[in-house]
Amino acid sequence: MRRLIQFTSLALFTNACELQALEVSGNAALNLAAHTAGAEPDLSEQGGQLVVKFTEDRDAFSLVGEGRARWNHAYANDYSEAARDDYEWSADWRELYIAKDVNQWNISLGMQQVVWGKADNLRVLDQVNPLDYRDFVLPDLNDYRKPLWMAKGEGYVGDWSVQTFYIPWFEPNDQATPGSEYEFIAIDPELLQSFTLLPEKKPAHTVDNGEAGVQIARSFSGLDINFSIFHTWDDNPVYRQQYAIDASGEFIAELQPEYHRQLHLGVAAAYSLANGFVLRTEWLVIPDSVYMLNVADINGGLIEETTVNALLGLDYSWRDWLFSMQANDRYIDNWTNEFASAEHQPLVTFSATGQSFSGRLESRIAIARFTDESNDQLLQIRTSWRPDDYWAYTLGADYFSGPAQGTFGQFAHKDRVWIKVQRYF
């Protein structure tokens, strides 16, 4: 219904405004992906995608939109009915907003994405928009970040760049639909056997339940630094343990998924070192993270503790190549082994991205690996050939490894190779 309202209001708006300088661009793509480790079905993707971007730039305001329609025939037969309903055909807005410059401030209203931080394809401070995990973490982050309705202002106070926004309606992360390709094990299946899982309890769409954030940023010679504060909700639910007696007098244990408020305090910096290196770092402090305990208590098995999430990255530029290494970990204050979450989650990433043949060939290899005893790992390789400004042919591969319940390892049987043919317009 909300999508219908968006399209209708856009149509009314554009009719009313008699678009004068509408610029339209985008691309159409055909995708094919095949499992290489024996998972069924053989083809996990047989479909296409249409992305249309438009900009109407006037003196008084500008209108920016990007819509996406996706089709994946693999969902017609081989996955659950719910997955077919959600993913065989789908369409979404990537952004849709009106912007206006007012006294050196850019004010924008509509569905938008805000990206904070300096990390490369990892999220430490980049927590403003939730994610859609239908394709797990395999696409570029920009392709699965969900836009949110928000009012946003960007401008300057002295030498500091300021970005501030208010989000009226909280939206959580979208987990992959049960029975789909990347259905994710978010909670221990053994735990679920002894509990009844209740429907999610989401915050009501009221003004009080909105989210708001401010980031200030400044560049000095060789150094970029950002400070941010974000009054938000945790994008993932925690599961409260509660007990009840049903109509027949039976004692039942229930898990209630619920969302909790969080305050994010962040700082990020990038510093240009000598000899082609750039050092990046991000620090996020959440004083009120809520975690599940393995044991029930009077608080429903939930506990609030301070969490620190930190990232250190190093980039090296060499001619047309960028090499990037990142180390990321978290620390939970007062952690005990009664927590359902590990105290640390050490992750390292490495990527190399380069161009050759006058920018017509672009290649990227990226590895993400948890460095605890799990050795959970994802390897992605991608190479794209662009013979001209209109066509792009991309060949890629995704390899998972690790334990059966690991973040990546749970998809170890779903290694895949894929091709994509894109026509830009």
Partner: protein
């Protein structure tokens, strides 16, 4: 950076007497190239044309915005077409050569929605897939090289000084990728009209030509230039149109936020 100004230098040299010209040194000539008056700011539309050996072309259109801040200058390059590079913005601050401070550079890629600082110590990378390297877009730095005036020569009927430049340090070689550069400077306009770049073996591998030189608001400006790769046979052209100096460009055009919001008509009231 002042790509336009590499080629469009001050005209004061043309008033020198013959005796003075005879005494001129390579450092003097290149200082004139670097320091000539060229307005406080510059606006231009530009097309970067990538030409394959077989003649096939790809064209990238961009807005070129540059402004002086004392002896430093700031640059914003905003790509407008084609679709796969639309919204890409490059910003840089080039500091006064005498302070020996490394440039600051940032890139905004719409696909990542992130402003990323990029190292400025290696400028050998290709500028948007072209034969121009990032270093070729920088303002000419006199002290990076030891230079000698080797002869005088006519290029397209214009009298030129020919200067041989040898990098003054290994750092310069690592930053530029050039082991020697020969530069042709037009005597009348102090414009660099040709450059030949040599590799470590002393073999020329790239050539720059100013194909069209014209006066805009009494400032000599190269509006069409060409970079030829002598090894792979590819050529790139940079064609400027609608060049305007001293237009009063707003400071906001050189701040980071403009990379995310994009340069719009409303940001350029002076040139629309």
């Amino acid at each position: 950076m002042k790509f336009l100004s590499i080629a469009a230098a001050g005209i004061s040299l043309c008033f020198m007497s013959a005796t003075q010209v005879a005494a001129v040194t390579a450092d003097d000539i290149l200082s004139q190239v670097r320091n000539r008056p060229d307005g406080v700011d510059t606006f231009a539309n530009a097309s970067l044309v990538l030409i394959e050996k077989n003649g096939s072309k790809r064209v990238r259109d961009l807005l070129f915005l540059q402004k002086d801040y004392g002896k430093d200058d700031k640059l914003t390059l905003s790509f407008t077409t084609p679709a796969d590079v639309k919204g890409v913005v490059l910003q840089s601050i080039n500091y006064d050569e005498s302070v020996q401070k490394e440039d600051d550079q940032w890139m905004y890629l719409p696909a990542f929605r992130q402003i990323r600082r990029i190292a400025a110590t290696d400028k050998r990378g290709s500028f948007m897939g072209s034969q121009f390297s990032y270093i070729d877009l920088d303002k000419l730095r006199v002290t990076d090289y030891r230079q000698t005036l080797v002869r005088e020569e006519k290029i397209n009927e214009r009298d030129c000084y020919v200067i041989e430049r040898i990098p003054s340090s290994l750092e310069v070689v690592n930053r530029t990728g050039y082991h020697k550069v020969n530069v042709w400077v037009d005597k009348d306009s102090s414009v660099v009209v040709k450059q030949v770049y040599f590799d470590a073996k002393g073999i020329p591998f790239k050539e720059f030509f100013a194909k069209k030189l014209e006066q805009v608001q009494n400032i000599w400006t190269v509006t069409h230039s060409e970079m030829r790769d002598l090894v792979n046979g590819r050529t790139s052209e940079l064609i400027f149109s609608g060049v305007r100096y001293d237009v009063g460009l707003d400071d906001s055009l050189f701040q980071h936020n403009i990379m995310k919001t994009g340069v719009k008509n409303g940001n350029l009231p002076q040139v629309r």
